[in-house]
Subunit: 331 residues, 2 copies
Amino acid sequence: MGELRKDPVVNRWVIINPQGRKRLFLEKEAREEKKAYAENCPFCDGNEDKTPPEILVFREPDSQKWLVRVTANKFPALRIEGELERQGTGIYDQMQGVGAHEVIIDSPSHSDSIADMDESHVEKIIQAYRDRVVDLKLDKRFKYVLVFKNYRITAGASMEHPHSQLIATPIIPKRVKEELKGCLEFYKHKERCLFCDIIREEKRSQLRIVAENDHFLSFTPYASRFPYEICIIPKIHCGDFANIRNEEIYPLAKILKETLKRLQILLDDPPYNYVIHTTPFHFPSNIRDYHWHMEIIPRVIRMAGFEWGTGFYLNPVAPEDAARELREVNG
Amino acid sequence: MGELRKDPVVNRWVIINPQGRKRLFLEKEAREEKKAYAENCPFCDGNEDKTPPEILVFREPDSQKWLVRVTANKFPALRIEGELERQGTGIYDQMQGVGAHEVIIDSPSHSDSIADMDESHVEKIIQAYRDRVVDLKLDKRFKYVLVFKNYRITAGASMEHPHSQLIATPIIPKRVKEELKGCLEFYKHKERCLFCDIIREEKRSQLRIVAENDHFLSFTPYASRFPYEICIIPKIHCGDFANIRNEEIYPLAKILKETLKRLQILLDDPPYNYVIHTTPFHFPSNIRDYHWHMEIIPRVIRMAGFEWGTGFYLNPVAPEDAARELREVNG
């Protein structure tokens, strides 16, 4: 029967109830065979003039063919120009929507996906994430940058072509603040990093590990909100994703690709989101008590009123079962 | 262009960006003509033996025909038997999934919906909510009860037949805690209720009002997370939904039906969730600084990685536009 589990970082309770398993996979969408080139797609090889100007590009060695391109988002959620201009309106508070919204085009091919790419190609995507974050940190108006991916329409993608996004914001997002607070409180008590403790516990119990290499661990969190939710985290303490070392980028690409490949095989190429959570800009102390990580959320169930109303989650798949199934996939 | 707005209760920032309007209505699902009776539906008139035993029933005056029935949920997220048994497991914390999970069958007719019911019928549904909350408060293991509705499959409903649900939980949900904290902090500063201030501001500006009667106000919140999000709130301060007076139930039924009817007409019968937020059990002081209310969330856009990753929201419809459009509907 069900049990309640507490997320140690944000103190969020989750109901793990495997009896609800029948509700899985409601979100699956119709699939069409995709071609490597789509005429109307501005992200496809040959259509480069249909995007805003390139901010960053990585090319194949010894060739002019690009592998990864970064451009401004044509329909930005926040605009890059202007100042914040905080002001009151009636009893409420408001500021101008200043920020940066960029698109990382993962590949020139319309039908590609990270699960199917060469690891050296995935490495370039992560390098693009890192380089853009490092650059945006120089803009004093911003406090945070979120790197994320919406894979497939059900996960919120508006373009089919494989791409990632980043949004730099003038405030620290609420969810990140909650994680920072949890980690700081733990550090005050124990004088060590909470995520480092979680890594030790996961390696000790071996119950929830999906994949591992010298630098990274991929596991299903103890209080997973969603079925097959996965966390990828550096095994050596590191608070800020912008500080990832060059030699760590390939191992991250490797474990990300392997994890997404296992998800692809087990759940028949499900829609998913992933995000990178890292320390905010200009808060050096968080580098000590926070620990950057990626969160992968397959979109295989629907959120309903209970989740919206309470902020706690009903998860019909125990993370131990999810990890075992993902490990048992023959990739 | 976009702006950032702060929710005064939980300090959550929302990006209001009407340029994103094209993304609306992705969640719409195929509609079939529904009949008043479905043979395999356990909630339909005549199939009463297919549900768990009745906990509460309201019948038509001078007739044996039922209007609203409450039963236990056949597939509960939390079970009613047992004690909490909090315990550690490795470095993590856990407790048994104890709670109550009930179904309020809104109507004997399979094709009914609140937007189309008589107000006197909606009154009975709300009376059932109130009576069940009052009863569950007597169980000392529970700290909160969430009343909610998932309307249509896209909004998480697993049954087509019109119904609401409630879940009583042994902990105060995170989202409710955040609201309580915001209200308490405001009270400490100002010695008055924050929601009462919001009601005054909304009545003063008239920008976001959807409907109003002697007892209730229906409006689109200043920092709405979702397009056409609506709040229904008692105009006279009242912290605890369980304390709603008998003479207030009909006005609530009336404004709820009118609000949902306007949504139904404007957005072509969209999927939606609603929840009732009220004070937790056994916390009498919250009755002073908190203010119960209903939140209605039409499900007309998808959540994506940015929202999951940050906890702030991208809303492509300004609440002022939403309220005006809803007011202009000819019901």
